[in-house]
């Protein structure tokens, strides 16, 4: 383990130790936890940390994927490969299924996205499987409402977050007590930044979906970001398709995740790019641009 001077950990090892502690608290305090796994880098890092936390035993909880029906095929392949390699159980909750059963209504219009619709199948899967803790890869540096999140974040029986009435979180004493029907969201990498995640991926040689690296793709420009050309996103007549060298900084639903022009083909290149970038990674996310409190409102309703 890399240590600096005497008995002091490097920032990455200290963050890792904290996250492992949090993951073990989840396994100890809850009966039926689940790890929310999107195939994005943050949930991949969470899963890697979970493998470390319980080694040599297997990760003691299943993975839950919310299938928007508008996923990048590369992400879906990656998820299935991961599940197979690690021998963990994957549970899939589908937005399409929720639409078909009339639980949610598909958004209309040119900027329609299934992003916000994910909340309903997510909460339904938590309730149906009686999950009492859902582990997620959200970070506090991502977005201003997330900066107010706890490691152990309480959700009422409707899955709602009440940001003004959160439990104080002191030292490393995490209070996971709850009433029947309530659950917790747990964020082991709360204190990591985008850069920490990339450095850790490099340090640990963690495998990622190919979308993160630069590749040729047919895209079109909308509101300053590039969206992938796909059957799921209707284009306006004036928008024109072009083939560009791009990569994705975050991976979400196709309809709201923008690509950036990039030549980065390795993790080292990406770190270099992140270090000089002047726009936050969520700057490419259309779901956050809807209003100043877009994330806060979604989170209150039970979003990730």
């Amino acid at each position: 383990m890399e240590t600096i001077k005497d008995y002091n950990l490097t920032h990455l090892r200290e963050l890792e130790a904290e996250s492992i502690f949090v993951l073990r608290e989840v396994a100890a305090q809850f009966e039926n936890p689940v790890l929310l796994f999107s195939g994005g880098k943050d949930s991949i890092v969470c899963l890697h940390l979970a493998r470390k936390a319980f080694y040599p035993a297997n990760v003691p909880f299943p993975l839950l994927m919310i299938d928007t029906g508008h996923n990048f095929p590369e992400t879906v392949d990656f998820i299935h490969k991961t599940v197979e390699t690690l021998g963990v159980r994957l549970i899939v909750a589908s937005v399409q299924d929720a639409i078909d059963r009339g639980l949610v209504t598909e958004e209309k219009g040119i900027n329609a996205s299934r992003n916000a619709l994910q909340t309903v199948p997510l909460l339904e899967a938590i309730e149906k499987n009686k999950f009492d803790a859902a582990i997620g890869g959200a970070r506090r540096d991502e977005e201003k409402a997330r900066a107010k999140e706890r490691f152990f974040s309480h959700r009422d029986e409707f899955g709602q977050w009440d940001p003004k009435n959160q439990r104080p979180e002191l030292w490393n004493l995490f209070n996971g007590k709850k009433s029947f029907g309530e659950h917790f969201r747990v964020f082991p990498i709360s204190n990591w930044t985008e850069m920490d995640v990339w450095q850790y991926i490099l340090l640990e040689k963690i495998e990622l979906p190919s979308l993160y690296f630069s590749h040729k793709r047919n895209v079109f420009e909308r509101d300053g970001s590039y969206l992938a050309v796909s059957e799921h996103i209707p284009m306006k007549p004036e928008e024109k398709e072009e083939e560009l060298i791009v990569r994705f900084r975050t991976i979400g639903d196709m309809s709201c995740t923008g690509a950036v022009l990039s030549e980065a083909t390795s993790i080292e290149d990406i770190i270099q790019e992140v270090a000089t970038s002047r726009v936050t990674e969520r700057g490419t996310r259309a779901d956050d641009k809807r209003s100043e409190a877009a994330m806060e409102d979604r989170k209150k309703a039970g979003y990730f």
Binding site: I4, D6, N8, I20, A53, P56, D141, L173
Partner: protein, 427 residues
């Protein structure tokens, strides 16, 4: 492990982590200071900057209001105040920083205590025009109560007092006078202007009389290697790892985070509460065995004898054991609107142990502005700090909070609502 250490891509493998908290009264410029640190260290992105610039212009403000960066919730933006602890991040090539940004109003003592509980350093802001005020004392007291190892007093708004040395010296003098009543291990003073950027990241050319370091330089270089206790070996068992795999058939590992001291392979240890003695067989991580482990590492320990150990137990060195008692005196900060009930029963968390306790006695309530011990009014409510005696249903293995923040801290929980009611520091 070996090839990781050889790996080199920039200096990030040598970066350390420093956690600090900021405290100041409502208009001391705390948010501006944080904004300045983020902005001057280039941790603010264009889209964030554009957003606050737009808001500042809409509000007709003269400068881009860096304070807007730190207001996370709608209600905070509407009211222009910080309600809850928010965590901010920035880094320089030397260190990564985590800021616990806590509101300074008196009604938010609980948030300051929360932010202080994990901090290595506290920044106390003083308005140069107003000097040391009641709130300064309160913020400093909370920093010392929570045993934050380093305190840095930033005398802000020097631009509004013509950058005069006398003003800085007077604040320093007044602060030292009252600080003598408090237990501050390491104290620094820096004259700054968060608004103009003097001595925050870059040295000020307008205060040539000041030869000390800038705030960022202090944050980057202050020695934090001794902030953890590396003397008293304490390993609270968090989780028992029992792989159901043939190759690890008899494996029983005790997973946890080192709370103090340095554990080495072969060490003679005791398991508490059973008191059985054994030796450490191995200290394991996913990346292989390590020879020694220290706070705050997360590891898995295996022992040479099969003894019954479960979550909440503690592994310690044979010749250095923690206190063991059901009766404890603690300083509490009450954090809930529901008042404390003398004789009341509460759930209690200490390290990885869950137990229950009863409030036996309230010794005094502390006036945090004067340190006066009030022994008449013993009603303890939100934001009160008091010394109390409790009795736990099962014995705790603990150190004084002064000696070890990990093994000396507890939280009290309401058994009906499950809310965290109080933070406690064992005396």
């Amino acid at each position: 492990m070996e090839n990781q250490e050889q790996f080199d891509s920039g200096g990030y493998l040598n970066m350390e982590l420093l956690r600090f908290t900021t405290a100041g009264s409502v208009d001391d410029g705390k948010s501006t200071l944080i904004g300045r640190l983020l902005y001057d260290s280039k941790s603010i992105f264009e889209d964030q900057y554009e957003a606050i610039k737009k808001t500042s212009e809409q509000k007709g403000e003269e400068y881009v209001n860096l304070a807007l960066l730190t207001d996370g919730l709608r209600a905070e933006r509407e009211q222009g105040i910080t309600i809850d602890v928010a965590y901010r991040y920035f880094s320089t090539p030397k260190r990564k920083f985590i800021i616990a940004d806590t509101p300074g109003h008196i009604q938010y003592t609980r948030n300051m205590v929360t932010g202080a509980s994990t901090a290595n350093l506290a920044i106390i802001l003083v308005d140069a025009r107003k000097g040391v005020v009641e709130q300064t004392f309160r913020h400093t007291f909370i920093a010392t109560l929570l045993q934050i190892p380093h305190v840095c007093v930033c005398i802000n708004k020097m631009d509004l007092v013509d950058y005069k040395e006398e003003v800085f010296e007077k604040v320093k003098h007044d602060f030292k006078a009252f600080a003598s009543k408090l237990d501050i291990k390491d104290l620094h003073f820096i004259p700054i202007s968060a608004l103009m950027g003097d001595n925050v990241v870059d040295r000020s050319e307008r205060m040539s009389w000041y030869n000390g370091q800038t705030l960022l330089y202090l944050l980057e270089t202050i020695h934090i290697g001794n902030d953890h206790n590396h003397i008293d070996c304490r390993f609270p068992v968090q989780y028992v790892v029992r792989p159901q795999k043939t190759e690890f058939h008899d494996y029983r590992g005790f997973a946890g985070r080192i709370a103090g001291g340095i554990f080495k392979k072969g060490d003679k240890v005791l398991a508490l509460p059973s008191g059985f003695a054994t030796t450490i067989k191995s200290i394991n991580t996913f990346d292989g065995e390590v020879e020694e482990a220290f706070a705050p590492m997360s590891v898995t320990i295996t022992l040479n004898d099969e003894i019954d150990i479960s979550r909440g137990d503690m592994i310690v060195r044979e010749n250095n054991v923690p206190h063991n008692s059901q009766d404890l005196d603690i300083m509490v900060c009450w954090m809930n609107e529901k008042k404390m009930v003398k004789g009341g029963k509460y759930a209690l968390k200490h390290t990885t142990k869950d137990t229950r306790c009863m409030i036996k006695d309230v010794k005094y309530k502390l006036n945090i502005n004067t340190l006066h011990r009030n022994e008449e009014d013993l009603e303890i409510g939100l934001n009160d700090i008091a010394r109390i005696s409790i009795r736990t249903t099962s014995p705790l293995f603990f150190d004084s909070y002064k000696r070890n923040r990990n093994t000396g801290s507890v939280i009290l929980i309401d058994e009906g609502t499950n809310e965290t009611l109080a933070a406690g520091m064992i005396i």
